[in-house]
Every structure is written in structure tokens, then in C-alpha cells.
């Protein structure tokens, strides 16, 4: 097995009496795509939010690139090498595609808000940031749209932009929350291609409803229902799991 980059052990998140995520463990390895599937309300997005620091776990441990991250805030976790995209498109709508990605790329510069040199230099002249930005935009296939205002691009392009912004921070671990949500056939196929392209060198967790995409991409699969893992393994193992068929796959296929 390749290098383990993120390991979550027995994660639990309670909202009052409801355990949205209950005793869930996930391991993400370099060059591997780990898909998490399950019906609506299974706790997939909550799990993503726990790993990214958007939510704090009630209990459990998360190790990211050798650092314990449970309880840390999102910006710390991002800087430790985790990049995430959102189920509901979460971009800077009034900015151009370029400025969206450039801002994400700039976050990896070391200078903070109290450095007066950073008040007077030109943001557009940061060559290292521009290089990273250009690479991420090209990888996501948005080069032709770079100067378009993000709010006026198509839904599919906004989903690509989500990925480009995530890539611009050069993460080692990627959490992608339904990157194919709301996409047409052609757009979805392009996105699957993109995900295969960025699979190398990243440990990826993919939350997705599109089963064709999941089985095309995933090296491992975790099935969640009501906040709990009911099966985990290779796609073939999960597909033949009787419990999964009853709880989930049976309804949709």
C-alpha cells in the first residue's frame, strides 16, 4: 500500500441527540481515490467538514501528514496540506476565474497581514503565485475562461473552478464533496477525466452520488448510512455486500 497521508480514527459528531457521524474511520493514501457513498443524510458531508475543520468532532482522532488535526481550525488544516471543494459551489462570484484561483494560490505565501511591504506591492506581480495559478487553471481546463467573471460561467465551469482553487493551494490530501453534482453527461465525463488526471500524487476522498463515476474512479469505497459505516473495501467487495445492496445500491440500480 502506498503512503498513508490522512488517517481518521473513530470520528463521532453529535448534534444534540443525533449522531450525524458515528464512529467512522477513514484512511487516505497517496495516489488512491477513496469514495464515500451513501443516501442523503448519511453523514458524508459532515464527515468531510470534520476532516477539513469546518466542524469540530465530538470525539475521535485525525492525523494529517503526521500532525494531529482534530480541533484545529480550517485555515491551519488547509496549511497542513488539505484542500477541499464544496458540494454547493463556494467561490468568489464577482471575481474573474483567474482572480479566484490567484487568491487561493496566494494563500501559500508566507507573509501575513502585518507586513507593510504586502500593503504596497502589486498582487498581480507575484510570479510564483501566478505560476501556481496558471498551472491549476490549466489542469482544470479553464485556461480559455480565465478572464471571465466567475458568476457568469456555467455550472460545470464553476465546479471545475472549485477544483482549480483547491489545486492552487498545492494540497497533498483532497476532499471533494460531490464534484459532479448537477452536471450534464458531457460535463461529468470531463470531470471524471480531470479527477483521474489529478489522482497522481494526491490522496483523494471523493463524496459522490454518481455511481458510474464512483465505480470508474474509486480504489476503495466506504458506504455510510445514518452516520455509520456499513461497508468498506474495494469496489468489487462492496458491490457484492448483501447489506449494501439492501440499504443502498438496490434502491438506485
Amino acid at each position: 500500500m502506498s503512503e498513508l497521508l490522512l488517517s481518521a480514527k473513530s470520528l463521532t459528531k453529535r448534534f444534540g441527540g443525533l449522531a450525524a457521524v458515528n464512529d467512522v474511520s477513514v484512511d487516505l493514501h497517496r495516489d488512491r481515490i477513496h469514495a464515500v457513498i451513501g443516501p442523503n443524510g448519511a453523514g458524508k458531508s459532515t464527515l468531510t467538514n470534520l476532516l477539513s475543520g469546518d466542524l469540530q468532532p465530538t470525539s475521535g482522532r485525525i492525523t494529517l501528514n503526521g500532525t494531529e488535526t482534530a480541533g484545529k481550525n480550517p485555515e491551519r488544516i488547509s496549511r497542513l496540506g488539505l484542500g477541499r471543494s464544496y458540494q454547493k459551489t463556494n467561490i468568489f462570484l464577482p471575481f474573474t476565474v483567474w482572480d479566484n484561483v490567484r487568491l487561493a494560490a496566494q494563500s501559500r505565501e508566507r507573509h501575513g497581514p502585518w507586513n507593510p511591504l504586502r500593503w504596497l506591492s502589486a498582487a498581480s506581480a507575484m510570479s510564483e503565485v501566478n505560476r501556481r495559478c496558471e498551472r491549476a487553471i490549466e489542469l482544470a481546463g479553464l485556461t480559455a475562461r480565465a478572464s471571465t467573471v466567475a458568476g457568469t460561467t456555467s455550472h460545470g465551469e464553476q465546479r471545475q473552478l472549485e477544483i482549480a482553487m483547491t489545486l492552487a493551494t498545492e494540497p497533498t490530501v483532497l476532499l471533494l464533496d460531490e464534484p459532479l453534482a448537477g452536471m450534464g453527461q458531457a460535463e461529468a465525463e470531463r470531470m471524471v477525466e480531470l479527477l483521474l488526471k489529478i489522482k497522481k500524487d494526491h490522496a483523494m476522498m471523493l463524496v459522490e452520488h454518481d455511481m458510474d463515476a464512483v465505480f470508474a474512479l474509486a480504489d476503495r469505497l466506504t458506504v455510510m448510512v445514518n452516520g455509520q459505516v456499513i461497508a468498506s473495501g474495494t469496489p468489487a467487495e462492496v458491490r457484492s455486500d448483501a447489506g449494501v445492496q439492501a440499504a443502498y445500491l438496490g434502491e438506485e440500480h
Partner: protein
């Protein structure tokens, strides 16, 4: 077609021309022989000072998306700083009293900001106002700090440098040009800052702070730095105000003064600093116009602001941009 939320960060050519003409007009004004010139010089100086104040607020309100309803606190504190620094019988040197007053206002903003920038939306508005009211009453209720009557600034600051006395701020025309110079400098600084790495982060926070954190920005530090800087620049304006009027009172840090600044920024157009300048001049002009018309001028002023917000939500600059686009200009 730009998104409706775009804030004219990059000023169209038509607007740059208007600003340049405005600056030339301001620079040329003292050369015009006019009866009652002193009155107009003083009024224009005051407008320029308020324009600096409005720009400092725009850094928070228009750029970062933090609507502070207590920004006058920092304006007033710097004015009081000058009042306390100036001895009873001799002027104080401009060259250290201005930096000290502005830094003092910035320090107050840093301390208050440490508490307030944690809050969001309506809570931010309420908490900034609450702190400003605390500062207001600290001075209002305290005889040692001048109380409700305020304090006199007996002399304008002395701008002589190593024995050179070329700048005499007691001279109204000189003071006018000094204020104009600071207006231009602050504007140039803030325009540059807007497109700096720091400024881009502030704009990102306005649009989507959640995503900024997700890509790794510690937004708290950025907002605190912006709040501090805005406080210090408001301090520059407050210092000039106190120097010009020779008098400070708690009203300078009051609720009305804070609201005044917000309305000037909204009137001109937010997020590009040019709007704040245009808004400050327009607001003062319209206010004087209504004051001459009727003693119920506040009623007219209120109606005017409502009309602007309804028909020109991006302020006067937004209107200009709309017209110049219709004519096919860039």
C-alpha cells in the same frame, strides 16, 4: 457584462478624468479671487478632511465588508490627542504630533478590533457602536478629559523643520494645501493597497470569508490589521479636524459622526476610495444646500439618502459608470 456585485475597483477612464479635474480644481481654487474666500477655503478643507475620514471607513465597509458604526471613535481620539499634546502657550511640532496621534488612534483600533472583528454582520455593527459609545462617554462624563464641553487646541501644529519655516499651518491657504496633499497621499496609498496582496485578501474576505479560511487564510489577523489601519487613517483625519477648528468635543466621536461617514461612503459608492471622496464632497454640499433652504434640512437630507440608495445602489460613481457605459465609452 460585469457582475452586479462588482464594485468598480478598476476605475473607468471617465471617472479618472473626473477625479483629475476635481484635484486640479481644488488645487486652483485658492488662486481664484473671491469675496469671502476664507469661508470657502475653510469649508473645502473640512470637506477634504471628511473625505480622508470616509476613505478610511471605506477600507472596512467597502473593501473588507465590515460595516463599522463606531468609526468616529478613532477620528475623535486623534483630535483629542492633538488637544492634549498641544501646550497652552506654544504650538507642538507637526512632525511628531501627527504620527503620534494617528498611531494612538490605530492602537485604540487594534485593542478594540481585537474584540470586535471576531463578530459578524449585525453583531459587528452593534459591537463597534457599543465600543465607540464607551469612548464617547468616557470623555463626555470625565471633567479631566474635557467633559461635555470639550477642549481647545490653542495653536495649530508647527510645521517648521530644522529651522525652515516654509509651511505655516496658521495660514488658511497653507493649511488648505497641506490637507489636499494628505488627501492625495492617502488616496494613492489606499488605491495601491487595494491591489496589493493584502488588499486582495480583504476583498476576498468581503466576498466569501468562509472560502478564504478554507484555502488557508487566517482571516482574523487580516481583519484586525485592516481595522487598525482604518483607525490610524481616521486618526489622520481627526488630527486635521482638530487642528483646523482649534477645538474638540465628544460629538466628534459620537454616533452621528460615525453614521455620517457611512452615509458619505454609500452616497459616493463603496469599495474604491474614489467614491468615498466624491461622497464626502457631495454629502457636505447637499447638506449645506438644504441647511440654507430650511431649518428642517434633516428631513430633506434623509429623503435624499433614501432616493440615492433606491435609485443608485452603487452610489454616485455607479451612476457615472452607468452613463458612460451607455454612451459606449469604456
Amino acid at each position: 457584462m460585469s457582475s452586479p456585485k462588482a464594485q468598480l475597483e478598476k476605475l473607468p477612464r471617465s471617472m479618472q478624468v473626473i477625479l483629475l479635474l476635481g484635484a486640479i480644481a481644488l488645487a486652483a481654487f485658492p488662486l481664484v479671487p473671491l469675496t469671502g474666500a476664507d469661508f470657502y477655503l475653510q469649508m473645502l478643507s473640512q470637506m477634504m478632511i471628511l473625505a480622508i475620514f470616509a476613505m478610511s471607513l471605506d477600507l472596512l465597509q467597502g473593501v473588507t465588508g465590515l460595516v463599522s458604526l463606531g468609526h468616529a471613535a478613532y477620528f475623535g481620539l486623534a483630535g483629542y490627542a492633538l488637544a492634549f499634546l498641544t501646550p497652552a502657550d506654544t504650538p507642538i511640532s507637526l512632525w511628531w504630533s501627527l504620527p503620534v496621534s494617528a498611531l494612538g488612534a490605530g492602537l485604540a483600533a487594534l485593542i478594540i478590533g481585537f474584540f470586535v472583528v471576531r463578530t459578524h454582520g449585525i453583531y459587528f455593527i452593534m459591537v463597534t457602536m457599543a465600543f465607540a459609545q464607551m469612548v464617547f462617554f468616557l470623555f463626555f462624563d470625565n471633567k479631566a478629559l474635557g467633559g461635555s464641553d470639550g477642549l481647545y487646541v490653542n495653536f495649530r501644529p508647527d510645521a517648521s523643520l530644522f529651522g525652515w519655516t516654509g509651511i505655516d499651518l496658521e495660514n488658511k491657504t497653507t493649511f488648505y494645501y497641506f490637507t489636499l496633499l494628505l488627501l492625495v497621499l492617502v488616496y494613492a496609498f489606499l488605491r495601491r493597497l487595494l491591489f496589493s496582496p493584502f488588499g486582495r485578501v480583504l476583498a476576498g474576505i468581503r466576498v466569501n470569508e468562509h472560502r478564504m479560511r478554507a484555502v488557508g487564510y487566517g482571516t482574523f489577523g487580516y481583519k484586525l490589521a485592516a481595522f487598525t489601519l482604518a483607525g490610524a487613517l481616521a486618526g489622520v483625519a481627526g488630527f486635521l479636524w482638530a487642528a483646523q477648528t482649534g477645538y474638540v468635543n465628544p460629538e466628534l466621536m459620537g454616533f452621528h459622526m460615525s453614521a455620517h461617514a457611512i452615509m458619505m461612503v454609500i452616497l459616493g459608492g463603496m469599495g474604491n476610495f474614489a467614491g468615498a471622496i466624491v461622497g464626502a464632497f457631495a454629502f457636505e454640499y447637499v447638506m449645506h444646500f438644504f441647511k440654507d433652504l430650511t431649518k428642517h434640512w434633516q428631513l430633506l437630507m434623509g429623503t435624499f439618502i433614501v432616493l440615492i440608495v433606491v435609485f443608485a445602489p452603487r452610489g454616485l460613481l455607479g451612476l457615472v459608470a452607468q452613463f458612460s457605459r451607455k454612451r459606449g465609452a469604456p
